[in-house]
Structure formats: C-alpha cells, structure tokens
C-alpha cells in the first residue's frame, strides 16, 4: 500500500472510536514507533461513571503512556492523550485542551464530534483524523469538518469493523481519503513518522 499524501506538514493525529475499537486502538498504540513525532488525541466512547482503569488498560499496551489531560493543559508533541470519562474534550486555538460537562452529544460524553470538530478548527489542514469501529454516528460530522478544513481523513475499513455504523456514517457524508484496515493504519502511521526523522 502506498500513501500519496504523506508528508511532514501535519501537527496532530486525532482518533475516534467506540464499540469494537479497543482492540484496534491497542494494536495501533503498540505498533507505532516510540519516537512518533505528533500528538495523538483520542476520543473513545467509554463508561461515563468509571473514571479509572481505561487509561491504564491502554497504557499497558501502548509504546508510550496514555494521558487524560486536565482542563487547559497544553498539547505536547509526541504525547498520547485520551478524553477523560464523563467530560467532552475540546481543542482550543492555542493547542490546549478545554473540558466540558455540557449535555451529551450523539448520546455520548465524551463526544467524538466535539473533539474532531474543534481539532479541525484548531489544526486546519495540519490534522489527520482517524475514525474506527463504532455503533453510532458520532464522529461523522467531525470527519466532515476535518475534510472541509483541508485535513486528511482515514476510516477503518467497515468490512473489518466489529460494528461498522460509525465509519459507514462518515463515508456516507464525506469523501474520506483512505479506508484502511488496522494493519494499514499502522503502516500509514509508521510511514508518516519516517517523514519527520529526516
């Protein structure tokens, strides 16, 4: 698989996932280089009232620790972030996180649309959005916004998803750049990392 758009202009990767995405996420986090240059910002649907355990479970598999950011924390290169339980996670223009307890969006808090849309406004064409397996349409509008702002969009191949509602919803409303298996998403991210090392 060759990726035409790979270059070192990107400044962040944002990943959305829900039901059936845990395995894919852990595969990705365990197979990227430790020196992966960009921040990876993840918004994954999770139990609202279980604050602890999820970040730890992801950290065990990940090549670098997963961080649940505090409100107004700055986004740093090469770190892996996860939206905390029961908060929406926005990305502000100055590349800081802003959390919120506003109403659920698409029945979800954190909502993937909120994280994706606000990252798109903040990073514009310097953003890569990846949407994985999931059982509702949260994230579809976010992916559309990323595309409209000139960012690069990738969805997990619906054929491979445990539940394909989420990537399918995104594909329906946006011309997504790549539809990839988890294996190829990993290849993509490794290729991408190489562009930053020279």
């Amino acid at each position: 698989m060759r990726f035409a758009d790979i270059n070192d202009s990107y400044r962040a990767v944002v990943i959305g996932g829900s039901a059936g995405s845990f395995q894919g996420i852990t595969k990705i986090l365990s197979n990227i280089p430790e020196s992966f240059p960009l921040p990876i910002i993840m918004c994954l649907h999770r139990l609202k009232h279980v604050r602890n355990g999820f970040m730890e479970a992801l950290s065990i598999k990940s090549v670098k620790p997963v961080i649940e950011p505090y409100d107004k924390e700055g986004i740093k290169k090469g770190k892996v972030y996860l939206a905390p339980a029961n908060y929406h996670m926005y990305i502000e223009l100055g590349h800081t996180f802003a959390l919120s307890t506003e109403s659920m969006v698409n029945n979800s808090r954190p909502s993937i649309d909120i994280t994706l849309e606000s990252s798109a406004y903040s990073y514009k064409q310097r953003l890569i959005g990846i949407l994985l397996s999931g059982a509702n349409k949260d994230g579809a509008i976010g992916m559309k916004t990323i595309k409209e702002k000139g960012g690069l969009t990738i969805v997990q191949d619906p054929a491979e998803c445990l539940i394909d509602t989420m990537p399918t919803a995104a594909l329906r409303i946006t011309e997504i750049d790549y539809t990839l298996s988890i294996e190829n998403i990993i290849k993509f991210l490794n290729e991408l990392a190489k562009k930053y090392s020279n």
Binding site: Y90, E92, A98
Partner: protein
C-alpha cells in the same frame, strides 16, 4: 451547524457587557462558540448579527439567552468517590476545630449538588447546624434549584451515585414522585440561602469552610480562571477547603501556592496562606 467566527463572538460578548453588565469575554472559546451555535439553531437566527440585535432589543430574551449560554447539566453525587472523601475525611477534619460548618456552592446550577450536600450532612447529623449558601449567575436556574423538582428519569443515575457514596438510607425517601417528576424533600434545603451571584463580576461576600466550585471554571479561559480563583481564595477561611472538578487543576493559576493539595484524585485543596 454553521461556522461562527471569533469576531462575531467578541461582538456578542461586548454587546452583552455594555448592555447588561455580564462579562463573557473570557469564556473558554470552543465550548462557548458551540453553545452560541446551538442557540442560533434553537431560535432560528440566520447569524450572530441577528442574535445580537435581539439581545440588545429585548431584556426578556436576554434572560432566556442567559439560561441557554450557561451550562446547566449536572447530577446528584457526581463522582461518588469525591463525596465519600468529603464525608469521611474533609468534614470530620473541619469539625475537629469548629462547632459549625459553612459551605458555599459557587455556580450551583439547578441545585443537584446542593441537595447532595444536604443529604450528606443530614446523614452525618449536622445539617441543621450547617450554613449553606448556593449561588448562580442565572435567576431562572436559581428558581429551579430552590424548587428541587427534577425529571424522574434523572433519578436513576442519582440513585446509582448515591449507592456508590454508601449513604445510610433509601435514596427514594428524599423525594416524592409525581407526574414524572421527583419533588425533593423541601426540609433538606430549609436553611440553604439561594442567591443570584456572578462569579465573574460579583464581589466577595463572605467566608466559608468549604467552597464547592466543581466544573464551573472549565468554562473560563486561563485569565478568567486566575481572577475567579483569587475571589474564591478570599472567600475561604484559612485552612478551609476548595473542591474543584476531577479534571480541573490549579497549577496554572498565580495563587496556586496559597493552597496545598489534600486529595489529588478528588481535587480537594486546602488554603494555607492569606
């Protein structure tokens, strides 16, 4: 959802500041923008310009706007582990040195946190001797808090949280169910003083043993967080406590060194310097 530009948001905030003396200029931008965008849809405004026009023409409409633009989503006993720490560690500690305890809910919204506190204090046998003040910027939401009437569908979550706090009673004894609503036991808040107060423009009005300001300052930018924290600091007795939301942090604030962390997991701070 239509895109809103930051200049429009600034114009909106300026208009409100001039006309009504509420200051939204230092609210956290992304979430504020999203709520404005929702208001445009809700009231079918074509753009921010028409919203600004309506706000400047009608004070009644501004009151409605105020209720929509402030965030009023909350639950009883949010973060049960926090409430256990409060009951088992913080409050007993205060009672070592004080006969009575005073609490300020800064930004109490529809009152769920106030009722949670009243239930906690009642089960500790100290509700009657406690002084509680609950404030919010929004007059409509303060009325709601006073009434203590909540959709019955919310009570499921509240009940679950209460169980996790390990309260001593059946949760349903604290409310009556009528027509799909839960009517909270009025005696819980008999001694609570509900007041309108603006954290941003308002004055410091008293001092307390505990200030509860959980998930309120997340809607402010760092400049405003700094200013508000100064006021909260002034409103706490020396060696009193400040509780903020589990993913909020004081470390970016100028006067953070006037507090120490008592419980990092639950974000409870103690004021150690004037």
């Amino acid at each position: 959802m239509q895109e809103i530009h930051i200049v429009d948001i600034r114009k909106l905030a300026e208009t409100i500041k001039e006309k009504y003396n509420y200051d939204f200029t230092n609210y956290a931008m992304s979430s504020f923008k999203r709520r404005v965008s929702r208001i445009l849809e809700l009231y079918k405004f074509n753009n921010v310009e028409s919203l600004i026009k309506k706000i400047s023409e009608s004070e009644a409409y501004f009151q409605e706007f105020l209720s929509e633009i402030t965030v009023n989503v909350t639950e009883m006993f949010r973060d049960p582990s926090f409430w256990r720490v409060l009951r088992d560690k913080i409050i007993p500690n205060i009672l070592l040195n004080h006969q009575k305890i005073s609490i300020w809910h800064a930004g109490c919204s529809s009152g769920e946190e106030v009722y949670s506190m009243a239930i906690l204090l009642k089960e500790m046998g100290i509700l009657e001797s406690s002084k509680i003040v609950a404030t919010d910027i929004d007059p409509i939401i303060i009325e709601k808090a006073k009434k203590g009437v909540y959709p019955i569908k919310n009570m499921d979550l509240n009940d679950k949280n209460y169980l996790r706090v390990q309260g001593t009673e059946d949760f349903n004894k604290y409310y009556e169910e009528k027509n799909g609503y839960a009517y909270m036991d009025k005696s819980l808040v008999e001694n609570v003083s509900f007041r309108i107060h603006d954290l941003v423009n308002g004055m410091v009005f008293s001092k307390f043993d505990i200030v509860m300001c959980r998930n309120v300052m997340i809607y402010f930018n760092q400049t405003l967080q700094n200013d508000v924290l100064k006021k909260l600091h002034e409103s706490i007795f020396k060696y009193g406590y400040l509780a903020i939301g589990s993913k909020e942090s004081l470390i970016w604030c100028e006067i953070a060194n006037k507090f120490i962390v008592v419980n990092n997991e639950e974000k409870v701070y103690k004021k150690i310097k004037e």
